[in-house]
């Protein structure tokens, strides 16, 4: 049997994956130093476990699983601290949907999207809108914020994200849709109120 060599390049890890792992770590801890330490430990552990890499996932996904284990371990040990809970969040969502749609799946009048009267290019630079987005993200249910943020991180893959959030990946975008519905409703209300256009 041929022994295969799998391509791991630990010397490039920090530059290639540092930011991505760090963003994920920050979702799990609000403490910056803690997140930095997790990233460092992940790389060192990855190096130590180099030989166990089988090439059945990408280098990045493999490092993510190591990071995930580190974080789980941390919260198990520090039983006084609570891990940001991510599982079992999607239980009561039938109710969520009925806020927005009637039985035929058509928008309900009072909660259907309205024109934000924004030029998209200008909107990207608008500080007020940015603050509103920030506020509304924080008001989402646990897990909903994560799914929106994780989706934007390239290279993670829907399989990994769904496993991480404890949802089936066949309806990954359905979960994103649900989170987005909440988020856009919150932004719309705050934004139009600010413009004096919300009745």
């Amino acid at each position: 049997m041929l022994s295969k060599t799998y391509n791991l390049h630990p010397e490039d890890w920090v530059n290639k994956y540092g930011e991505k792992l760090y963003t994920y770590a920050l979702l799990k801890s609000k403490n910056k130093e803690q997140a930095e330490d997790w990233v460092q430990e992940t790389f060192l552990a990855g190096l130590g476990a180099k030989d166990s890499f089988r090439g059945d996932s990408s280098e990045l996904t493999w490092l993510y699983s190591i990071l995930k284990n580190k974080i789980a371990q941390f919260y198990r040990k520090a039983s006084t601290k609570q891990e940001v809970p991510l599982n079992g969040l999607f239980a009561d969502q039938e109710n969520d949907l009925s806020l927005f749609f009637n039985e035929e799946g058509t928008w309900k009048e009072h909660s259907s999207p309205r024109d934000w009267q924004l030029d998209p290019a200008m909107a990207l630079e608008n500080k007020e809108l940015g603050q509103i987005l920030n506020h509304c993200l924080d008001n989402l249910k646990p897990g909903q914020k994560e799914i929106i943020v994780l989706k934007l991180m390239e290279g993670l893959g829907s399989k990994f994200i769904c496993k991480d959030l404890g949802i089936s990946d066949t309806n990954y975008w359905i979960q994103i849709h649900r989170a987005k519905l909440q988020l856009r409703a919150c932004i719309e209300k705050k934004w139009l109120t600010k413009q004096g256009k919300y009745e």
Binding site: W13, Y22, L137, L152, Y172
Partner: protein, 88 residues
């Protein structure tokens, strides 16, 4: 059932799916037909795309205003630790 008739709820799901993976030809058709006749879903799509663009542009907004870049100092620290062990 008319294959071309899509509910707003389903249209919204397809709008999100489209940003993650390819729609089937039928789904594309259904969505395009729906978006042409439903202003509210067209607005939803604009808003959804805008939200993603904002988060991509200012990702730290998504993380409690925390700087999401690893500082060069920390990067160097980690690289040094890593190099020490690679050379061994």
């Amino acid at each position: 059932m008319n294959l071309m008739v899509l509910s707003c709820q389903k249209a919204g799901q397809l709008i999100e799916k489209k940003q993650v993976k390819n729609l089937t030809i039928l789904e594309k058709l259904q969505l395009n037909v729906h978006l042409r006749i439903c202003e509210r879903c067209a607005d939803y799509e604009k808003q959804s795309v805008l939200i993603d663009a904002m988060l991509k542009k200012h990702p730290k907004q998504a993380l409690n205003g925390q700087e999401i870049r690893l500082s060069d100092e920390i990067k160097q620290r980690i690289q040094k630790e890593l190099d020490k062990r690679i050379k061994k």
